[in-house]
Symmetry: D2
Subunit: 336 residues, 4 copies
């Protein structure tokens, strides 16, 4: 029987996930949806053949629903995730797990009390083929010990509502997770530097920013975040080891040569760039739920990313280097 | 309800398709399998949760089976496809539709008599993102009128059983379909030239070969087929138009830089190279069957490809340019 | 003392060579120039500090002139080269050595009678860093035995005076020389195929054309020549060996990423593309002359290229495969 | 008449320059050389046809010598350059102009007192075709206002004598000059961060290091310097503007595809990577001297680069951000 998934939050990301689960993921169907905008929920329900619930908690407690996907606004992530845990249902929560590390800790404690792993956080980049190759080159020793990593994260335009802190909490949080995952270690200090703002960014938005993450080993990860770069969505990185480097570029499938130039398109947005990753993320989650063996980013990963992003915000506000103290370390936990 | 698919032929390709349908395709399950090697069929049946049938025709007639996927050896493709048509079941037949154009015509006639489209042929390259971009650049006028196309098709090693004609019937047939699809016109003449054979190819195998396909418009497609190139699986093309060119390269996601070189892996085989295309091919087929609207390569496409491949074999044997006469043209048919 | 060079022919190519010798080549100066357009000659003479002669033969016989560079129209190449040989002066003759193989033979005979090597032909591609790397990969065994080569030669636009045969005699002749040089063997047969003409080429111009060159070993070189491709000057090749391939692409130094595309410029013309090769060609010639040890393309190379181009013209006119018979072979001569 | 150049310092770089001037630069010859190792000087003198002097000042005062090239150790750069200025001879001084900004100021004052421009500093990257394209894309407005630049500078191995400060004074000084030149503005503050040292770097060498340069406009340039990266010599940069980016990569001329990889060589060292730049640098200098119009990096450029490198050393030693105060600004001077 297909896994019956309830989707909470039917905005752009939630609706996309629901469509993906319906049209591209084996072994799952979307049986229930909820959104505070009931019209939007009803429309999606009709499209994917689901029932629209009138409350999120009602959906979670619906005995027909096997697993929960949360794509509601970040402030309610923790409460909803904890409710799903209370119902002992596997829950996929979009990033961030919660806006504050305190809330993330509440989620971890709830999951820990449940005595079984139930939470996966939506850091889809771990499922991107390009990132997987970089990870492979690190893990198989091809590039030696990791010393540095250079990351770039650019969006063509940010929504008008974007604030300077959101470059860190909403965008750089992806690089934070990627850095922890690629380097297999925790980040211990951060420094954020806002240099010259783009004249095309909204007034008062500190864009671009440079972020330095220091890992426990001393390895340093620098990140350019620029959310009004105009030309497209561009995510790249190069990990520098003692023997060589492994890089991620925009995927290329060929070239168009006309009018004096040989060129390749830059994807306009994250949906095109990470479409395969989103699909594989959900497929692996569904498989993990059905097999009783979740393997994706955990609540701890969600917590650690939020904690580091909090430190980044503090650094941006103070202009100082800020240290990060996690309650424990993923790698310490895994080793224990 | 999921589409219940019966898979005939559980060798490498059939088993891969069955696994893909099970693990990666929404809306489908493999409920029945058959293979002349009953042990192999039983093993796959256990793996994907299907019933192993004792005859192919029994599987086709099984009322629980909604649609048929044929991955049996080519010589039985036509008979099995015609049996599926007789049962009025949608049928996905691996390429080639049949080894001879006469058999392909029999399939077309059977489908025509059934009064509805039921057949799709497994030319998966049409679902590759890189090829789709090339097609897009042609169709939107970016490169002007198509004048030439240069294609390369290389395998690291061919099986020992590979014969000189099979470079054309088993390998070049992909480029033949791609050429028809990209150019939106029929191929009218072919010339095959076997030059210097690789010392690493088996004795008496004419490998590599150069193939020239002439389209109705006069556009010429040249193809290198080389099935013992040693270094990997490499499929590329460049379509040359009056305003520019569109090319397909091996997909790239980044680079590894060590020991004096910056490098990218060449996929070892077709499974890695066209993994995404195989998935999308089956997903689209399943969706097309469920929606009653098949859109993939048709029986006519299968027939045309086989007819051109037959001409290539004749050219290889005679050393002459050979013209191709189709019973009609796809594009004429579509326009009527 | 600097080598005093006399330049015959001060059109675009001759003037460029004179300027290069003056501004970029060590150990040489242009002391004399001649052109049938005496005004044009006088202007260049003033620019580079040379004397303008009133006849080509006067320039050749000027005792102050140490070496001759011929950039006059092709029909007078042979007579001028023979005159320089008669004066026992080293002579650099732009390609082609002569429009007909009979004239080339006359040059070879004159040089042979002189008893010393005096002639170099202007096949500058042999000095291009990219081609040198391809040659290196062949000669060091990296790609095994050469089986095939694919070449592309595109110009944005051809002059209005360009005739269909000139695609072969003026443009493909570069690929003919490159093929002989890369493969270290002679070409024995050619086939030219004119397919669909570009609607943007002048009426009656067969453009593009496909050329197949067969080497003595059986290796086949295919060449696309397209002199009205619109988008730029594009010269590429891929040599396919039994172990791998070596390719030449347009040189790349970086990318410009704006407005949805990551792109690299295609050079507009041959001057930009082969600027470094032209300089190195002349520098090596000057050094060879001064050291008494010429090493560049010889009169035999000029003869062989013209002979193969003649066969190509015949193939274009007859539609047939045409065999090439050289009076002897470079490689046979070198081995003797 | 050829410019008669005296070369002081005949170690690796000086000898290379002398050979380049002799074999590849028009309008110049090396007539005199000096080195404290008189045997080394004599050997080079014999090779290039020069006279070996017994003192550097004797060479400078030799009335037959028209211009001076200084490739002696850095500590004597300033004194030798000032001596050449005193002799009113044009002088090309290898980078750095001097190890301290005080010495650079002395050179500037001497040149200023001479009342004419006489000094060029050997920042050869400004003559590299790839950098010139990046500069062009900035100056023509293609990428909008410059906001950031990311630079990478890697050597396979540093000499055993290399100290942690030398990564800044000997290597990063190139990026400092490039940053000033590309951005057309002065650098006002620097921060150096030494993270995790490579286990393959000599003990106690802080390698790699991350350098942040802040420009007057607020634009930030980050630089990775890593002089024991093992795999080759790799210099890259990407300049990020408000409309797009312009990047410099290792030059590419084609690919070698064998054994599962498509690859391009990384140059082993700076000589191969910047060979064309070194030639063009010297050719332009010789032309500038002959035309009485020097245009390359000036003594002020040499001073500014040294001043910023000094600040970098201080930052490395203190761990603090260090501001830079130039006596004036190039751009202010140019504008006046």
């Amino acid at each position: 029987m297909d896994l019956n998934i309830g989707v909470i939050g039917t905005g752009e990301i939630g609706a996309d996930h629901a469509r993906r689960l319906t049209a591209h993921v084996a072994g799952a169907r979307v049986g229930a949806v909820f959104d505070v905008d009931s019209g939007r929920a009803a429309k999606l329900a009709a499209e994917v053949g689901a029932t629209a619930h009138t409350t999120a908690f009602g959906l979670i407690d619906d005995t027909g629903v096997d697993a929960i996907l949360i794509a509601a606004p970040s402030p309610v992530h923790a409460d909803l995730t904890i409710a799903a845990i209370a119902a002992r249902k596997p829950v996929f929560c979009e990033k961030p797990l919660a806006p504050s590390s305190e809330e993330c800790i509440r989620v971890m404690e709830a999951e820990s009390a449940a005595g079984t792993r139930l939470v996966q956080v939506g850091f889809m980049r771990r499922y991107d083929e390009g990132y997987e190759r970089v990870k492979g080159a690190i893990d198989d020793g091809s590039i030696g010990d990791v010393l540095l990593a250079h990351c770039i994260h650019r969006n063509a335009q940010a929504p008008p509502s974007f604030k300077s802190e959101m470059l860190l909490t909403d965008s750089v949080i992806h690089e934070i997770d990627v850095a922890r995952w690629l380097l297999s270690e925790e980040l211990v200090a951060v420094t954020v530097l806002a240099g010259r703002a783009s004249p095309l960014a909204p007034e008062n938005l500190l864009d671009p920013q440079l972020v330095l993450l220091e890992a426990a080993s001393g390895a340093v990860v620098d990140i350019e975040i620029f959310v009004n770069c105009q030309y497209g969505y561009d995510v790249r990185c190069e990990v520098v080891g003692s023997l060589g480097t492994a890089s991620l570029d925009a995927p290329s499938t060929g070239k168009l040569t006309t009018a004096g130039y040989r060129r390749e398109p830059v994807p306009p947005g994250w949906k095109g760039r990470f479409g395969q990753a989103y699909r594989d993320e959900l497929q692996q989650w569904v498989k993990g739920v059905r097999d009783g063996a979740l393997s994706g980013p955990s609540s701890f990963d969600g917590y650690a990313a939020t904690a580091v992003a909090e430190a980044c915000v503090k650094s941006l506000q103070t202009g100082e280097r800020v240290t990060v103290s996690l309650s424990t370390s993923q790698w310490a936990r895994d080793a224990s």
